[in-house]
Symmetry: C2
């Protein structure tokens, strides 16, 4: 299933700074893939607050359930252990046993309390996780921990991602720098079976765990919860964030810190869309003038998830009728005669009809670009939202119709 790197990929993996209080290692454990790293370990110094946001799937995986239960106020030493190649989802009681075995083995190798070991798994589902292959590598992983290992970690968590994903910001607070660095994996629901979006963010900021948890959930709602590749929800989506406090700078309540974190999360979210299965175009759907923000979100996501909108974009067709359709089906309050639609700067429709100024040739030329912006103004109120998606191409079907191999 290895394909070419997405045409929407950033030019290069960014240079991520070392974050005081965090060390990384990665290793090839042969969980499923040959000739590549597939397990990463991150070790967090004492004082680290850990927060998490997880898939809302009711069939979420054993590692997700275990992680969720461990999120709390404890700031003792901690570890993130992630494998690719097998998601340990829908593996019954065996799944929980695998998580327990891995946590116990990480505890033994690192001296970290098993209650502070957070694991994630991504890859094929429904097959027992060969956890003994991971356990066998823990001594090696522990010995290899180093502050500069984050890019290796980003590569070890890839499944059919076509590029590793990283992002960073340094925020100045009271004249002192606070660093944020994050990595992610995700490409839609990935062949050979469904897979996941996994995100790990590290900062040397000092912040209370409940405040970090609230901030993470709030920003997730405007970033990772506003992207879609195919409308399908993973059983394994996990976002974990650690604040080590090593900078000594307390960022509780800092708008600058929140803004920096949001830039990192948005960048990673966009990179997931840019690696969407078969994607050739990056699409931003901006909705304004809705009766409420919630209504605006409904319209944005209905448009971003519509197979007909996404195939039209793949075909470089400025098919604004399908946008009208998506508005109509969204469940949001809408009035045909107040609706206006722009493709980029081009006014397409207004007052319930195609604009008299609309020039289809110009719109068709615009659709040939790699970055498409669709603006929908409902003309009703001040509610707004943005969603990001990609086009739906033949390659999506190639990737997902292929027999698992």
């Amino acid at each position: 299933m290895a394909g070419p790197v997405s045409p929407l990929a950033p030019a290069a993996f960014p240079a991520l700074p070392e974050i005081a209080g965090v060390r990384f290692a990665s290793v090839a454990a042969g969980v499923r893939y040959a000739n590549r790293t597939d397990v990463m370990l991150a070790e967090l110094e004492p004082g680290s607050a850990v927060a998490g946001v997880f898939t809302r799937s009711s069939t979420r995986s054993a590692p997700v359930r275990d992680c969720e239960a461990k999120i709390g106020a404890d700031t003792s030493r901690a570890a993130f252990l992630v494998n690719s190649g097998n998601s340990n989802a829908f593996t019954g009681q065996a799944g929980e046993r695998s998580v327990a075995e891995i946590c116990a083995a990480v505890a033994q190798a690192t001296g970290i309390d098993a209650a502070r070991v957070f694991t994630s798994s991504t890859g094929v589902i429904g097959e027992p996780l060969p956890h003994e292959r991971i356990v066998a590598k823990l001594g090696e992983l522990n010995a290899a921990l180093e502050p500069a290992g984050i890019e290796g970690a980003a590569r070890a968590i890839m499944t059919t991602d076509t590029f590793p994903k990283g992002s960073t910001e340094t925020v100045s607070i009271d004249g002192k720098p606070v660093k944020i660095a994050g990595i992610a994996k995700g490409s839609g629901m990935i062949a050979p079976d469904m897979a996941t979006m996994l995100v790990y963010i590290f900062t040397d900021a000092l912040i209370d765990q409940p405040k970090l948890q609230d901030l993470l959930r709030e920003i997730t709602d405007r970033t990772f919860n506003c992207i879609t590749v195919d409308s399908d929800t993973s059983t394994s989506d996990t976002l974990l964030m650690a604040a080590t406090g090593a900078s000594g700078v307390n960022v509780t309540g800092s708008a600058d810190f929140a803004a920096g974190l949001e830039r990192v999360m948005l960048d990673l979210a966009h990179q997931v869309v840019r690696d969407g299965e078969g994607a050739t175009k990056f699409v931003e759907i901006r909705v304004t003038g809705a009766a409420s923000d919630d209504d605006a979100r409904k319209v944005a996501m209905a448009t971003a998830n519509s197979p007909l909108v996404k195939t039209a974009i793949a075909g470089e067709d400025p098919n604004w009728g399908r946008v009208v359709m998506a508005v109509g089906k969204s469940g949001a309050e809408a009035d045909r005669d107040r609706l206006s639609i722009h493709f980029g700067e081009i006014l397409v429709a207004q007052n319930g009809w195609v604009s008299p100024a609309y020039d289809e040739e110009k719109a068709a030329a615009y659709m040939k670009g790699q970055e498409i912006v669709i603006d929908v103004d409902l003309g009703l109120g001040s509610g707004e939202a943005v969603a990001w998606t990609c086009d739906l191409t033949h390659r999506y079907i190639d990737i997902n119709a292929d027999y698992r191999s």
Copy 2:
């Protein structure tokens, strides 16, 4: 965009009986298509109760709004006038004027009160309807009305449907026959732009209009509201039913009549799925054991709409992990350890894991069939639902990514 007839099409258009009190005509008016009929007229004798169910889109078309407003207790002479080629949707105030012009012209040609003329339009959206082309043919249509014209009507309402759709039942009530005959068009949201599902059902039964309306809405919920091709909602979906009363048999409250009507509606609904854009497999998703019927419906529709389930079926892959994913994302109450999944007769998964008896070769062989049944039992309660869909293939993208022409 003309393609081969769907491999899932019935062998032939059924022989539909004449319904006393209804006459049909169809004509080539050149609304958009060349060399084919594109307007149909049905005339209903006095005493005809008319009921309707319509799209819930908030951007629904001018004809839909007009039809909805006209449904009521009046049983005077009535007419259905339907054109293909242009949906008269998102055409601003001009759309309403076109509907009014057509209704007035039908009234003039037939002597039927304009308040009893129900119109539908299907085809490209956002372009003004050239209603004068339809108006010019009304005299010819009126002169051609005949009881046997229903198959011609079924053909005139097609857009990119690959076959005309009809269904019939004769129900015996107190020893007297009551006839039901219906026609439909629909193939998903159709190139060159979005299009619609339109359905017209005729019976010689005698029934109070409010009872007919209730019955139609209730059965729609179990038939047309349980099918999906691509999860997108048309601006023009219309189901109109006329009961002429000509048989003299009062069917109010008759379970036999309701059952016959449901068979016709289900058959037409299935035919729409069988003509789904690019479809090569007809898929039935049966959900049982849910906490409520509503929960069962959520699981059935989440599975039927999932691009990953649909591409797996296209690839003949018994990928039950994606069914687990769809259950998880549906929002319905679910417990991994109580879930069981069958593909046809093959038990795939139970107790939160793949069944020990599961034979992937057998399942892969099953997936090569043209009719696929997926059974999901949630093991929680007695809620149940069924949904019907088709697979998602390359041809869907070909049809929908093509520039409107």
